[in-house]
């Protein structure tokens, strides 16, 4: 891939201290406990592409989004946005902050219920002082039209809108600082399918119009397939496979990816049986040794129980897989 990389994560690990308070630890004689939400994740996203992170609960995808947005620092490793280090402990330059934005899962929680829509959309403009005060209202009206709402909606409050309309407002707000990169954290999982289609189409149109780069975070493989150029599959905080979207769906390599693709119910398979993945996701506080997926893996061997697999490149299309059992030649 010769494209210019806009975002890169280099061996990013995030641990959370979930220990009981000091007094309880002393009384119960237990040590500190940590939850590793993200382990050793490296990836880079090229300008203009849609990169998707898929994973089930506990896969660490939202933690990655928060670290990229500078809401929490990584425990180990570093995140760079167009060369600039993203780490809240060192402060993030306003000029850098303006260039990335986020769209959240729940459009009922991501808009302040006490604020008028116009003020919500204008907040980034005002915070970054992007234009004279007299021009803000006009810009808000323009943004509302861009996302398919009416300029007069600026006067209303969020509770007057449906879920899909609120997500449009959230998108207008995200666009208002003229960002280059937007993290979309499950942007449609709270919406009905017919509304989901509207939002996904809008996101694509905006990407074409403004040359946006998306990091799409989702558990919904069909949405990911529809939107993404490249896909990273997360399992228990570990990146198990990265591949161009078409390749991943045509020939999934990691056993987890394969099982996931088989398990997802799909419209095109009327009456067909999904092949269910055996077992359930382990507790991330005490993940399995070696490869985190080995207790559920049909291919697991002894080495999988002891040694965590490193990501290895496959072919020349930027694929990589972290699995002992996948042949480099595959």
């Amino acid at each position: 891939m010769a494209d210019e990389m806009i975002l890169s994560l280099d061996r990013v690990t995030r641990r959370f201290d979930i220990s009981k308070p000091l007094l309880n630890r002393m009384i119960e004689g237990v040590g500190k406990q940590y939850l590793t939400a993200t382990a050793d994740v490296s990836l880079s996203i090229a300008r203009g592409e849609t990169f998707a992170l898929v994973g089930e609960s506990g896969s660490g995808k939202s933690t990655i989004a928060k670290m990229i947005m500078g809401l929490m620092p990584p425990s180990v490793g570093e995140i760079r946005f167009d060369g600039d280090l993203i780490d809240p402990r060192h402060g993030i330059a306003r000029a850098t902050r303006r260039r990335f934005q986020m769209i959240f899962q729940d459009p009922f929680a991501s808009l302040n219920p006490r604020w008028r829509v116009g003020d919500i959309i204008a907040e980034p403009i005002r915070t970054f002082a992007l234009m004279p005060k007299t021009e803000v209202a006009g810009e808000v009206a323009r943004l509302l039209e861009v996302v398919g709402l009416a300029p007069r909606d600026a006067e209303k409050y969020p509770h007057e809108f449906s879920g899909g309309q609120r997500q449009r407002i959230a998108i207008a707000r995200a666009l208002s600082s003229k960002p280059e990169f937007i993290v979309c954290d499950e942007p449609t999982s709270a919406l009905d399918v017919s509304v989901q289609a509207q939002i996904l189409n809008l996101m694509r149109d905006l990407q074409d119009a403004y040359g946006l780069t998306y990091l799409l975070i989702s558990h919904d493989l069909s949405v990911v397939r529809h939107m993404a150029d490249r896909i990273g599959v997360l399992y228990l905080g570990r990146l198990v496979e990265v591949a161009p979207s078409a390749d991943l769906f045509a020939a999934p390599q990691h056993p987890y990816t394969r099982m996931l693709l088989d398990a997802v119910p799909d419209l095109t398979r009327v009456g067909a049986r999904a092949r269910a993945v055996v077992g359930e996701i382990p507790n991330p506080i005490s993940p399995p040794s070696g490869c985190a997926f080995h207790p559920r893996c049909p291919l697991a061997q002894d080495i999988c129980k002891t040694t965590a697999p490193e990501a290895r490149s496959l072919g020349d299309r930027g694929r990589s897989v972290a699995c002992h059992m996948v042949d480099g030649a595959a």
Binding site: D192, Q198, F249, A263, V270
Partner: protein, 340 residues
């Protein structure tokens, strides 16, 4: 044709509010045959869960069934008293809800709850009931069922809890199971296990299933027939492959086109403009006409009735396909071209 197991005729559910009476369900008619899986799909607020609540007599007050009838094996059940209805639930109708925690009492062990339910509805001793419960837990895939039966609900993971709920729903050998979004709270990889289990175990026991979900993929892989609900009304009902591949109602057509697929590339998703109306703002005529791309002037004034569909290919009435649309001939042809 034999009598259907469950039959809803023109069921109307109303909620009196200070802003007027809201119709949550408006003229729902459908049949469920013994042993079949009927899928109910619709967007949130369409009334699909309300149909389930109406069947099991658990509509939250002040809502009530204003007219119409619901029959189970020919017997009216919509006008039963609370105690008769309670006897019916569990015994003849099992229930599986979205959140397994709401179906399980956290203060009692799994054994307590299963044995109590079995003994409430079946004439067996405590020991027999316990043996039945263990066998059932084993069947739904709880490892070491004989030991784990004495655990409390919080000892189980989400997927395991939903297995327990399925066991609880089936322990009195009901004829009908109402499953309301049974897999929505679960992870994708666990979802398929639960759907498979529900389908297999109901088939084994000959129980019919009303599967309520917003996930068309789940319906496609599980249901025999599917009913599409829109704004408290039936839009379309028919065999699942017909409805998915040759949708007759413009709403169903839009819905199917709006779902991104795992296995085929769709350049652009079909989008239905707008959103489903709130219950207090349903337009006259066809409830869908403001969003419909083929609506005519008549759609704004005449409410379409459920009509038997004429199959475009064979030119004959297909046995069990109905849709409520004034432009049915037109759309059915369109649908025929659409399918493939």
């Amino acid at each position: 044709m034999s009598e259907p197991l469950l039959s809803l005729r023109d069921v109307v559910v109303e909620f009196p509010t200070r802003r007027g009476v809201l119709r949550a369900l408006d003229g729902i008619s459908l049949d469920v045959n013994a042993g079949e899986v009927l899928g109910l799909v619709g967007e949130s607020g369409a009334g699909k869960s309300m149909i389930g609540s109406a069947i099991i007599g658990l509509i939250a007050p002040p809502g009530r069934i204003a007219s119409g009838e619901i029959r189970l094996s020919g017997q009216r059940i919509d006008n039963l008293g609370p105690s008769q209805m309670r006897a019916l639930r569990g015994k003849r109708i099992g229930m599986v809800f979205q959140d397994p925690l709401t179906s399980l009492n956290p203060l009692y062990t799994i054994a307590d709850q299963l044995v109590e339910t079995i003994r409430t509805h079946l004439p067996v001793t405590a020991a027999e009931a316990r043996a039945q419960a263990i066998a059932l837990l084993d069947r739904v895939g709880i490892p070491a069922a004989a030991q784990r039966i004495d655990d409390y609900p919080h000892h189980f993971s989400g997927g395991m809890r939903q297995r327990v709920v399925i066991a609880l729903a089936l322990c009195a050998q009901p004829d009908l199971v109402i499953a309301d979004e049974p897999t929505t709270a679960l992870d994708v990889s666990v979802q398929a296990q639960i759907i498979d289990l529900l389908k297999d175990i109901c088939a084994e026991r000959g129980a019919a299933v009303v599967l309520i979900t917003h996930d068309m993929g789940v319906i496609a892989q599980t249901a025999d027939r599917v009913a599409v609900v829109y704004a408290g009304r039936m839009a379309e009902i028919g065999p699942v492959s017909d409805v998915i591949h040759r949708p007759a109602h413009p709403y169903t057509r839009g819905l199917m086109g709006s779902i991104p697929s795992l296995r085929e590339e769709r350049a652009r998703l079909v989008q239905i403009p707008g959103a489903m109306p709130r219950l207090d703002a349903i337009s006259a005529g066809c409830a869908f006409h403001p969003r419909c791309d083929v609506a005519t002037a008549a759609c704004a004034t005449t409410r379409p009735a459920m009509t038997h569909l004429v199959s475009a290919q064979k030119g004959e009435q297909s046995a069990d396909r109905f849709a409520a649309c004034l432009l049915l001939d037109h759309t059915a042809r369109e649908g025929g071209e659409h399918g493939g």
